[in-house]
Structure formats: C-alpha cells, structure tokens
C-alpha cells in the first residue's frame, strides 16, 4: 500500500459528473486524521465535506476554491511527513497523466435505478452492493416528499459489505403516484411486498422521517421481514410535527414559496441549492403528486399533529433499534429521540437538522454500520 493517499472529487448521487471546491478546511502542512473533514465540495444538488481517507499530513492542495473538477479528479494528497516532496510530485504527475474522467451519460455510470411491479404498481428502486457479501440486506426508506436520492451520501457507503436497496415510496420520485389508502399501513404493506418482489426475506430497515414511521409500521405488521430498525429524525415517535412545513410543502407552487420551507430541513440552510429546489419543483409538478401528497398529509398529519405514535409498541417487538436525530431538527423535535424505551441506541448529532443523513452523512453512516454489525 502506498504511503501517499489521494483525496479525490466524490460522486454524490448518480447524476453527479463534476463538483466545485467550496473551500479547504485544512491547509498544506496540517496534520490530519482519518475521517477528518478536509475540503468542502459542492455538486449541482448539494454541498458537503470530503473526509481524509488516511492519517498523515496534508501535503498538496491541487484545486483552488471555485475550481470545478470531474468526479475522481485529484483534490489533494495526504502523506506522512517523511515522504519526500519529489516522491509526492512524481505521484501527482503520474496520477494526472493517467486520470481520465468518466465520459458522459452514454458510458456505464455504475448502478442505475430499476422499476419493478408491486401489486400492479410500478416502484422505482436502486440497488447497490453485492448479495455475495457477508452482511444482511438493508432497505432505505425516504421521508415525505423525498425520494431515493435522499440517500445519495449514504447508499454507497452502507453497501460496502451488504446489498442495500433504496426505493421511491408510492406518490414519490419515479414510482406510481397512486398511494391507494394513503396511510402508513398501505405504505408498509407496499414495502413488505417490495421486499418479496426483489427476493429479500428480511432486511435492516433504515427510515428517515415519514420513512421511519413506515419502517415502524412494517415491523409491527410484518415483523418477520425486519431484522432491525434505524430511525432517523423519525415520525411515529411523538405527536408534534412542524405542520407549517408539511402544509407549505404540499401547497408550494413555485421556487419562491418552496425555498424558504426547504431551509427548515437543514441546520445549515446554505445547503439548499437552486438545483435542489428545482428538482423538487419538477417532482411536485408531475401529474398525481399534488393529490398523493394531500392524501398522505391528510391521513398522517391531520390537525397539526402526527396521528400515529408507535413509540410504546417498539419495546414489545424485541427488534434492535437505533435512533438518530439532528439536534437542530426543525421538522420533528429532537425530544422524540428519547421517547423509545427498550433495547435502543440513541445518537443525537449537534448542529444538524432534519436531513441529518445528508448533513452529517459520515457520522450517520458510521453509526448505522456499527449498529447493524
């Protein structure tokens, strides 16, 4: 193994082909530890930090603030202080002469989403990882108004030693916009049927927000399908919820109405890029989405509160439970993190908001990986 480690432009989500450097958090000559955030990077959709892959000294910064690099492009180099400058220069020259950015969409860009028919309706999902690996399968379930791209910072990392599925719930993403009864039971039954359809007998469920309440409901209605529950900023654990956000999201018809709402999702509202707002507007303008969201919000969050609180039933299930929350969550209060009794691990992350799996992706990924073992 080389004593010289690269820091390269990450690939966040299937469509990312290049990213912009927003700024360095470490300077040349600084000692860095594996897992420390080194440089801030922004894709069209989202901003985040790249971590050091190894412990050592940051020896080179090969991109300046505002530079745009293709995915895989060299941002910096970490090496031991003992490695000579000449060796590092040679390594960089070698990397740059051999580096070819991935070609456009025509080329194989790795995994792509698939569609599957479940109970007569199409569901879109993305599978990463290998069923031959040792870990048990995992399913990621997004929240209200979200889709499988909410896991863009998590999916690949979690799939290091298992197959991991992420799906679009009915009414969301590119799945059917027919939500049927439009309640948690209907969504949970669809998730159970999805697992059957892709041939997974039981899985670790990871649910965010409304997806957490869906995961809980799957565990209650189909306990044999659930190995464990990881609930992130989850619904279903208490009655309070920011209904201003829910109602605003359902009714927002343009960018100016939507953008301030989305700022509530993150502790750092600068993470709401124009592309994120535009993507959500495109989703909201699809035929059937307005109806689906009204039906779901009417059933789940009527009268300014969550209509389904399942915290008390969790202990009786006997499933391992991990609860993760952003301390600054402005959608569902962090107090709900402590509402669960029984065999529960709780991780509360400071300075993070409702989309904690995006804002603190590395922490969330590590917590889930440790938890499922």
């Amino acid at each position: 193994m080389s004593a010289i480690q690269t820091i390269t432009m990450p690939k966040w989500g299937l469509s990312m082909q290049e990213g912009k450097v927003n700024g360095w958090l470490k300077q040349v000559g600084d000692a860095v530890e594996q897992g420390q955030e080194i440089v801030e990077v922004e894709s069209e959709k989202i901003a985040g930090a790249v971590e050091a892959g190894a412990t050592g000294v940051l020896r080179r910064q090969l991109a300046n603030e505002e530079d745009v690099l293709p995915v895989g492009g060299l941002l910096g180099v970490i090496a031991d202080a003992s490695v000579s400058d000449a060796d590092i220069d040679a390594f960089v020259a070698d990397f740059l002469s051999n580096f070819k950015p991935a070609e456009g969409a025509e080329e194989d860009q790795g995994p792509t989403t698939q569609k599957i028919e479940v109970n007569g309706h199409k569901l879109r999902y993305l599978k990463r990882g290998d069923s031959g690996k040792s870990g048990e399968p995992m399913l990621l379930i997004h929240g209200f108004g979200g889709d499988l791209n909410n896991w863009l910072f998590n999916h690949e990392a979690l799939a290091a030693d298992r197959e991991v599925y992420a799906l679009d719930l009915p009414g969301h993403g590119e799945s059917t916009k027919d939500v049927g009864e439009g309640n948690l039971a209907a969504l949970a039954d669809t998730v159970a049927a999805f697992l059957d359809a892709v041939g997974v007998t039981s899985a670790h469920l990871v649910g965010h927000s409304m997806g957490g309440a869906v995961s809980l409901t799957v565990a209650l209605r189909h306990p044999e399908k659930v190995r464990s529950l990881s609930l992130i900023g989850s619904a279903g654990l208490g009655s309070e919820i920011n209904t201003g956000y829910i109602q605003g999201f359902v009714s927002a018809a343009n960018r100016n109405a939507l953008k301030p709402l989305l700022a509530d999702l993150f502790a750092d509202s600068s993470l709401v890029t124009r592309q994120l707002v535009d993507d959500l507007l495109k989703y909201k303008r699809l035929e059937g989405v307005g109806q689906a969201l009204s039906t779901l919000s009417g059933n789940l969050f009527a009268d300014g509160r969550q209509n389904s609180v399942m915290a008390d039933q969790l202990a009786a299930l006997g499933k391992p439970v991990l609860v993760i929350w952003g301390e600054e969550d402005r959608i569902i209060p962090v107090a709900h993190a402590h509402a669960v009794s029984g065999k529960v691990q709780v991780e509360v992350l400071g300075n993070r908001g409702h989309m904690v799996q995006m804002e603190a992706a590395n922490d969330v990924n590590r917590a889930i990986a440790r938890f499922v073992g």
Binding site: S15, E174, R255, D278, K282, L286, E287
Partner: protein, 336 residues
Amino acid sequence: MARKITYQQAINEALDQEMARDQNVIVMGEDVAGGSGAPGEQDAWGGVLGVTRGLYAKHPGRVIDTPISESGYVGAAIGAACCGMRPVAELMFVDFLGVCFDQIFNQAAKFRYMFGGKAETPVVIRAMYGAGFRAAAQHSQCLYNIFTHIPGLKVVVPSNPYDAKGLLIQSIRDNDPVIFLEHKALYTMEGEVPEELYTVPFGEAAVVREGHDVTIVAFGRMVLKAQEAAADLQKQGIHCEIIDPRTTSPLDTDTILESVEKTGRLVVVDESHPRCSMASDIAGLVAEQAFDSLKAPIRQVTGFHAPVPFSDALEELYIPSAAKIVAAVKSVKEYK
C-alpha cells in the same frame, strides 16, 4: 436515472398525452397527418420534420390535414377555440405567420378584451424558428419578439426537451392564445423527460447556471450557446449566471433583475435581429429598474439587421456564437 428523449419526441409526447386526456384537443396543419388514407398510417411521417408522427393513427379524426392556406386554417383553429375546442395548429415555419397576422393580432389576441372577458381562445400555434439550417431568408427568422409585442398573446420558447413537454402541456391547458416556438436546431437534442404529464408554468425563468460575475439572459437555442461560453469562461475564472426566461410573454422580470442586482453586469443573447428585440427589451428593463446595480454597460449579442443569409459561411457568421458571447462577457467584466 430518468428516461432520455429528444426535444422533438418530447413535443410529440405532450401532444399525444394531452389528446388522450382531453377529447377537445385537436391537431391541425399542413401534412400533420402524413400519408393518411394510404398504407402505413402507423408510421406516416407526420409534419415537415415528423414531429406529429404517429398521432393520426392513435387519435383518429383529431389530426386534420389542412390545405396550404395558413390564413385559412389558423383562422379556423382560432374560431374552433372560441367554440370550445383546444386546437393546436402547426405552422411549419414562423416566417409564414405573416399571412395570418389579422387572425392572430386582431382576432385571437383581442377576443377576451373586446368581449369584456366573456370569450376565451385556448388555441396553440406551433411553429419552427431559427437559423442554422441553410433554409434561407424566408425560413430562418427568429420572430418571437413580434408576438411578444402584442398584448393578449403568450409566447413560449423552450430551450430543452424537459421544458418543451411541460410548456406545451401548459400551453394546451391555457385559456389564452399561445405562440409556441420550436428551434429547428434543437429537435435532436436529448434530455431527461418524465413519462408522466407535468406542466411548467409561464413566466417562470430557469436559472440554468449560477454565478456571481456576469448575468447572461438567453433564449431558445442561445441558451446552449451561452452554456458553451460559460464553461469556457469558467476556466478563465469568470463565473456566469445564465437565465433562460422560457417564455417571453409573460416575462419573469424578477429573476432577471435579482440576478443583475447580484452580478452588476448583463449580457443578453438573442438570435433575432437587434432592433426591437428581446435583447433590447431586457436591456431597457434592466437599465430602467436596476441602473444602480450596474457596474458596466449592458451588452447585446444578437443577429444582424439583415436577412438571414443562405450562404453557409455567412449564415454561421450571422448566428450569435459562443465566441461572441465570451467576448461580450469579458468586455463587461473588464470594464473600468
């Protein structure tokens, strides 16, 4: 990843899905059925460049081939719209709309106003526009500005497949006359387009690229030229913001003004002739309403005050190029 189709397929799909949804939607124009009555209806060409291909077989009786008389069938479409249909009249080249100005300017555009709000005219007039096809001076013009001038008309200039489908569906559902203009050089452009129906509202600009140095407002095909220029300028350390208004009437002035308030510099790229153009319109708007924000004179990159030439070399020279946009952006960036 979402499915990719071309601009031309996006228009065809919007027509097909709206015809399936609403029996009042009809398509009429010269050769739009294509080979009707003969074997091979399923695959008949459908329109001069095949945009309406396949619609005749799927929606029998609602794709109407008309005589070569634009003034006749555009008038008929407007009349049918007043009586409850939702016609989409195809006019091949926008250059030919000249013979229908009375129907469009004095009738369709005025009915709602002159009948005291009691009449609606939900007609869509589709036409190709733009240079670059060696189609000579009578088939290459860029005339959205002329329709934009007339109150009562809505004018749509999509620059990509996603917008083409969503804006055409919005045009068909809109209760006012809409001039829907398709740049012929964009027909083969591919992009991600949802399979479902969706609409893109009028008067909402798209911010195609964000940047803080110079605002570029561009229309239709010029959005692509602006993107090409911006990618080049990025390498030179100049960060452009590109705004695609998507509709010239109504016009999203807020997005343009907010951007110029941020950058202080404006370049407008418009394939039309320069006089009384969208370029001069937006330059006037910004000069009047955001003067205090401007750090440099506004620059317009347009065609020439001359007919579009037929000669290859001259036509290429006529069309605003990425290089001309780069030069204009640099001149406002470096202005002291």
